[in-house]
């Protein structure tokens, strides 16, 4: 009695499994993870539609390699674990290609620059960088600096400016709020994003960039790429040639021009 039940169960299970795999194979769908709150790169418009540079890149690539996309919204600090746990297949979320991340996941070639810049109140004179554009570590001692958890900015600060009092946030919106509220003296984030979302708005009127753009390759990587699980070389090859096609056809420049008056990539990435 027990045995037949077990056998039935086993048959049922294997049937379900084969059905499952057959389903994904017939219409290739790739699930794409992104934050969905990282404007202007990936965010939801007032109508609830996903938009932004990352979303355009995802759709552009999907059209070239001929797959359907399904977008999954995922908080930043859980992005790589979620990819590894197979919650989605690709990360197209403005993730910089760094050596540390490469230990866990694989990346396509870059499709956008990756840089950081600090912001602080206009009213406060801060002598943070020397004339050559290098930070002066002593002048950061005791300064409260707001950063997003698990970002390239956080690892840069940890190594280069250990004297700063770093406060870690879960998203970029709270950074601007607490800068306005005076809970932090400085924040560091993506300058393109900060300009668009904060400095150009009424809330950001009393604030400005402090110091130059930082893009030390050791921390910030060569740029932003598409993340995938390791060992998917065939997929990686298809993604890379699709990205090159987007660069060479000028389409990628078009995505950037929708938001900024300049492009966000180097033409040599298309070679």
């Amino acid at each position: 009695m027990k045995l037949t039940m077990l056998r039935n169960l086993a048959i049922g299970l294997s049937a379900a499994l084969t059905l499952g795999t057959a389903g994904t194979a017939s219409a290739e769908t790739l699930r794409v993870g992104m934050e969905c709150t990282y404007a202007p790169f990936n965010y939801k418009t007032a109508d609830g539609e996903l938009a932004g540079y990352d979303v355009d890149v995802a759709n552009g690539v999907a059209a070239i390699i001929g797959v359907e996309l399904e977008f999954v919204c995922q908080e930043w600090d859980g992005m790589i674990p979620a990819l590894l746990a197979n919650k989605f297949d690709l990360i197209i979320a403005s993730m910089s290609i760094t050596e540390k991340r490469k230990e866990k996941i694989d990346f396509s070639g870059p499709y956008r620059f990756s840089t950081g810049q600090m912001l602080g109140p206009k009213s406060k004179e801060m002598d943070l960088f020397d004339d050559a554009g290098n930070p002066i570590p002593d002048n950061f001692n005791g300064l409260r600096v707001g950063l997003e958890r698990a970002t390239t900015y956080a690892s840069w600060f940890e190594d280069v400016l250990p004297g700063a009092d770093v406060v870690l946030y879960d998203g970029s919106e709270p950074l601007y709020l607490d800068l306005q509220n005076g809970r932090v003296d400085l924040i560091m984030t993506n300058p393109m994003k900060a300009h668009l979302k904060f400095l150009s708005k009424e809330d950001g009127a009393g604030f400005e960039f402090k110091g130059p753009v930082v893009d030390e390759e050791k921390y910030f990587g060569i740029g932003v790429g598409i993340g995938m699980r390791q060992g998917e070389d065939e997929l990686k090859g298809r993604l890379n040639s699709a990205l090159k096609e987007l660069i060479n056809s000028g389409e990628l420049e078009g995505y950037a021009m929708k938001i900024f008056p300049f492009k966000l990539h180097k033409d040599e990435w298309g070679q």
């Binding site: 600090d77 674990p81 958890r149 698990a150 870690l168 709270p174 709020l177 509220n181 809970r183």
Partner: protein, 231 residues
């Protein structure tokens, strides 16, 4: 899935660096919350509507909203007002720890006052009548009869609330506080190893819960020493 024991060994000491903050949140807000709860309780049982009614509204509001929402309102919402930032409370509200303690205190105060009220209502009428018959005033009745008996009656439910307060302190990690959970989340974000880190974090919380349970067990036995039957 491989379970990386080395990683646990490396990250446990880091997480334990957050114990101090976790316990600071637990003890300070637990203590302030208890004082608040006693005030609310006295308002509730005062028999005067202008005291009873505000206390009821307060309890309804704080039990009726998620504690995470309360933390966000206090941390992100209050500083939006210029008046708050200029007030004498700003040094406290500027600090995330101050905000978390305030939210936890206000929340636990609401729950505990109802627990204490349950204890007060559980004191049998006969005891109070006996007190009155001996010529004790209402106030003496409350201090010498109701309060000690109600404390013993409320204790098991109160220990429950202390345990849930311990777990609520983990929410403080959402407003940049580096308590045990906050540190664990940063480690996970750096190592991409959620299972190892969060499971060991869960075990640490369980050990503390066990300690709190034992502590309350001892207090319960002490307060109930007159109730034990002989033989």
């Amino acid at each position: 899935m491989s379970f990386d024991l080395n990683l646990i060994a490396e990250s446990l000491p880091l997480m334990l660096m957050g114990i101090g903050i976790t316990f600071k949140l637990l003890i300070v807000s637990g203590f302030l919350g208890l004082i608040l709860a006693i005030c609310l309780l006295l308002m509730r049982i005062s028999g005067r509507w202008f005291l009873n009614f505000p206390a009821q509204v307060y309890i309804y509001v704080f039990r009726g909203t998620p504690i995470l929402v309360q933390i966000f309102i206090i941390y992100y919402g209050l500083p939006q007002f210029e008046a708050v930032r200029d007030s004498i409370f700003w040094p406290i509200l500027r600090e995330p720890t101050g905000c978390a303690i305030l939210a936890l205190t206000l929340n636990t105060g609401a729950y505990v006052s109802e627990i204490l009220r349950g204890g007060v209502l559980g004191v049998s009428k006969g005891v109070l009548e006996a007190g009155s018959a001996l010529g004790m005033s209402a106030r003496q009745n409350f201090i010498y009869l109701t309060a000690p008996i109600a404390t013993r009656l409320a204790l098991p439910a109160y220990s429950n609330d202390v345990i849930s307060l311990l777990k609520s302190t983990a929410l403080a990690s959402t407003i940049t506080i580096a308590d045990m959970t906050g540190i664990a989340r940063t480690i996970v974000a750096d190592t991409y190893a959620p299972y190892e880190i969060f499971i060991s974090l869960a075990i640490v919380y369980m050990i503390f819960t066990f300690g709190i349970q034992k502590l309350f067990g001892v207090i319960e036995r002490y307060l109930g020493r007159y109730m034990e039957r002989e033989g």
